[in-house]
């Protein structure tokens, strides 16, 4: 691949627990307007668009119908990826490399507050014959995985709780975050047990919001943008969807997705060559599990590293400076979008009080949530 591609604009609404004042189309419109202003482009300059939507989350069959108007893509090439936002970003990236215009846009949205039966809906994602009759709640599935992960790696409950404390604290300084709070590990450990060993505070609460990203190939990016953020590597992978056939202790999907992205970026030692990361932490233990799967930590090392503060903002390898899903909120298919947003803000030096010093390479990783085993990774550099 000869062409380089950069993020030249990004727009967001910020993330709130509930947004009764705006519809999902208005959320996207706001994010799109901000992204286009940031990039200095108009919809007519854009060659292709990708939206991210999942039918049951949006409350529509074939939810892609409502994608073109609010991003300015009427009678333009646009289609929908029902996946993680980073998969949409990868699609936009591939369209630029394929020659469908020099500028491409990826959109993602969460209007989780509209969903009345969220838990039942997730159960509806399980295999209708083998898994659904078990009537497992998504939290029970996550709890089983957490138990196995802790058993295999020696990770403790306290270490998982430390992730919650750190992320919710980081979120205090993120103006976009909706679930920030200052607590200690005891508070997490003593909160209501939802499904052992998972407590209420280990689970990320949901949020609403939208993110729109404008990508451009090298020449266009340099012409339009002072601080293009380059996509150095991108990867995605799906492990098995069946509950009975998966590896419960390890996040294989994150490992494969990361290796694909590392290979593209020419990264051999991720811990040394990457300065910071935004990792999916829909459940507290997921941050640790993903760090180990992606070779940023050795097996069993992520917990102790977190315990001594190694993943805090001032630590050796900062993780989730934004506050992650625990602090910002679970955004479902937009989770990857908020991760990319934070990495871009850090690399541009726009992260405010949470700004890291001298960072050049960041990683954003996401996961599609229970019961899936689909993970995505993107590596960005300034």
């Amino acid at each position: 691949m000869s062409k380089r591609v950069a993020i030249i604009g990004i727009g967001t609404t910020g993330f709130r627990a509930t947004t009764p004042d705006v519809s999902y189309r208005e959320l996207t419109y706001e994010a799109a307007m901000k992204a286009y202003l940031d990039a200095g482009v108009e919809p007519k300059d854009i060659g292709s668009f990708v939206s991210t939507a999942e039918d049951f989350f949006e409350g529509y069959s074939i939810a892609d119908e409502y994608s073109p108007d609010q991003v300015g893509a009427v009678l333009r090439p646009i289609y929908t990826v029902p996946g993680d936002f980073i998969q949409s970003l990868a699609s936009a990236y591939m369209m630029i490399l394929s020659g469908i215009g020099p500028i491409s846009v990826a959109q993602g949205l969460s209007k989780a507050s509209n969903m009345l039966t969220l838990s039942e809906m997730v159960t509806f994602a399980m295999d209708p014959i083998y898994n659904r009759p078990l009537k497992e709640s998504p939290h029970a599935v996550a709890a089983m995985e957490m138990a196995r992960f802790m058993y295999e790696t020696g990770t403790t409950r306290e270490q998982c709780a430390k992730v919650v404390v750190k992320n919710k604290k980081n979120a205090l300084n993120n103006p976009y975050a909706g679930h920030s709070v200052l607590i200690n590990t005891d508070y997490v450990l003593n909160s209501e047990v939802i499904s052992y060993p998972l407590t209420q505070m280990d689970i990320s609460p949901h949020s609403d919001g939208a993110v729109v990203v404008v990508l451009a190939e090298e020449e266009t990016a340099k012409a339009l943008c002072d601080k293009p953020i380059w996509i150095r590597g991108i990867g995605w992978c799906s492990d098995t969807p069946g509950l009975e056939t998966r590896n419960w202790g390890e996040a294989i999907y994150a490992q494969f997705a990361a290796e694909m992205a590392y290979k593209m970026a020419g990264i051999r030692y991720p811990r040394k060559e990457i300065d910071f990361a935004e990792i999916n932490d829909e459940f507290s233990y997921k941050e640790l599990q993903h760090l180990e799967a992606m070779r940023i930590c050795k097996k069993g090392e992520a917990g102790p590293l977190t315990e001594i503060g190694g993943t805090e903002i001032a630590g050796e390898f900062p993780v989730n400076t934004s506050g992650g899903c625990l602090g910002v909120g679970n955004l479902y298919e937009l989770n990857g979008g908020h991760k990319v947003l934070e990495v871009v803000r850090q690399l541009k030096g726009e992260a405010g009080k949470n700004q890291l010093k001298n960072v050049t390479t960041g990683l954003a990783q996401s996961w599609r949530g229970v019961p899936t085993t689909t993970g995505t990774v993107v590596i960005l550099s300034n």
């Binding site: 119908e65 994608s67 009427v74 090439p77 289609y79 394929s98 994602a125 969807p241 997705a257």
Partner: protein
């Protein structure tokens, strides 16, 4: 941008109420496609899956559920959809994966099991309409297409008995298709005498609901030349969505198909589509849609499609055979799988492997097109041998 070829294809039989699970359908088509080009799953770098609403199969995030059945176990896997236009979007999405240089081979799978939506998949369409302005009216798909068909007929002065010829042609073509669900010898009178669903749409103007899966294997040029002697090249792709506010548009002409077609023709270097395209598979979920799309695809002038049909130009033996497979009306309409079935038909025709359905005159350039959502999507692929 690299050249991308289709090197293998697989298609299950089209049925109403299959016993197989959606995953098994996807597996069957995937296995057939890999076998057809003597490739193994280990030769495949990535997988894309096209499947329309989750409500059909009745599984939330059904792309995830279908992943291992589609051969995506521990591979980069991505689902995409644009409503009814999904099936022809699938090879386009796969094309990016390979043309961009990210991957050398890509498995493109499309699956739809509509019978899981019980008693009828029409129920899945109740929630495609705008929640504030349209859903309170309880519209159905057939209503809105009746509005479109009426507008199309009124604008051009087309007669119902002429449009009915599309059903006669396609159902007859489908008799020769081994996967077909509704191949039949019928007459114009049969169509006109069939039950009126919502005037001017009669029962035989509508394609059936079906369960099926389809799969193609895409490869970059250096791999394709090694795998097969007869690669079929994807030379042009185009897609576009019109506004979701369909009430604000004039429905007599599909602008979205024209935009998509012009994008694909530009990429393929086609200047005079009606001469340079030898064979076409326009999307025909309703009889009038085939004509509507032929006009949008610039294969005839606006208002000229019925004359083309009456002159026999679109028959299998005509100058520009349209839906030689039997189309959605004859073979069946498992939404996403239909679009890919059309791509596979052009693939077989250009390879000269369509058996009884083979059109005469060795076609070298063909086109497949699909349409969907709220009458707003056009997806077009131009292929050459």
């Amino acid at each position: 941008m690299r050249r991308v070829a289709i090197v293998g294809a697989g298609l299950t039989k089209f049925y109403r109420n299959v016993q197989e699970t959606p995953k098994e359908l996807a597996f069957e088509a995937t296995k057939m496609a890999l076998d057809s080009c003597e490739m193994k799953l280990s030769d495949i770098d990535c997988v894309v899956h096209g499947t329309a609403p989750d409500a059909f199969d009745g599984i939330h995030m059904k792309g995830e559920y279908l992943s291992d059945g589609s051969g995506a176990y521990r591979k980069p896997y991505m689902r995409h959809y644009v409503g009814g236009g999904t099936g022809v979007m699938s090879p386009i999405h796969g094309w990016f994966h390979v043309a961009s240089g990210m991957f050398d081979t890509c498995l493109v799978v499309a699956e739809e099991k509509m019978s899981s939506a019980y008693p009828h998949p029409a129920g899945a369409f109740l929630t495609i309409f705008d929640h504030t302005t349209e859903q309170p009216l309880f519209p159905t798909l057939i209503w809105i297409f009746a509005i479109e068909m009426n507008r199309f007929m009124t604008t051009h002065g087309y007669k119902k008995e002429d449009i009915a010829l599309v059903a006669v042609k396609n159902k007859k073509n489908a008799l020769d298709h081994p996967s077909a669900q509704l191949g039949a010898e019928i007459t114009v009178k049969d169509v006109l005498d069939s039950e009126i669903m919502a005037w001017p749409v009669n029962r035989l103007d509508i394609s059936p609901t079906s369960d099926a899966a389809a799969c193609i294997v895409l490869a970059a040029e250096h791999v394709a030349r090694r795998v097969t002697e007869k690669p079929i090249w994807i030379d042009g792709v185009g897609w576009a969505l019109d506004s979701a506010y369909w009430c604000n548009r004039d429905l007599y002409y599909p602008d979205y198909v024209e935009v998509a077609a012009r994008q694909a023709y530009k990429m393929a270097g086609i200047k005079e589509p009606s001469k340079e395209i030898h064979i076409a598979e326009p999307y025909d979920p309703f009889t009038y849609k085939e004509l509507h799309h032929i006009e949008g695809l610039q294969l005839c002038k606006r208002g000229g499609s019925v004359q083309m049909l009456l002159d026999g130009v679109t028959q299998r033996t005509g100058n520009l055979p349209c839906c030689p497979s039997g189309g959605a009306l004859g073979v069946g309409n498992p939404i996403a799988a239909t679009g890919l079935m059309k791509v596979i038909e052009i693939f077989s025709q250009l390879r000269g492997e369509a058996g009884k359905r083979q059109v005469p005159g060795r076609p070298t350039c063909g086109l497949a097109q699909a349409w969907g959502d709220l009458m707003q999507v056009g997806t077009v692929v131009v292929m050459r041998s």
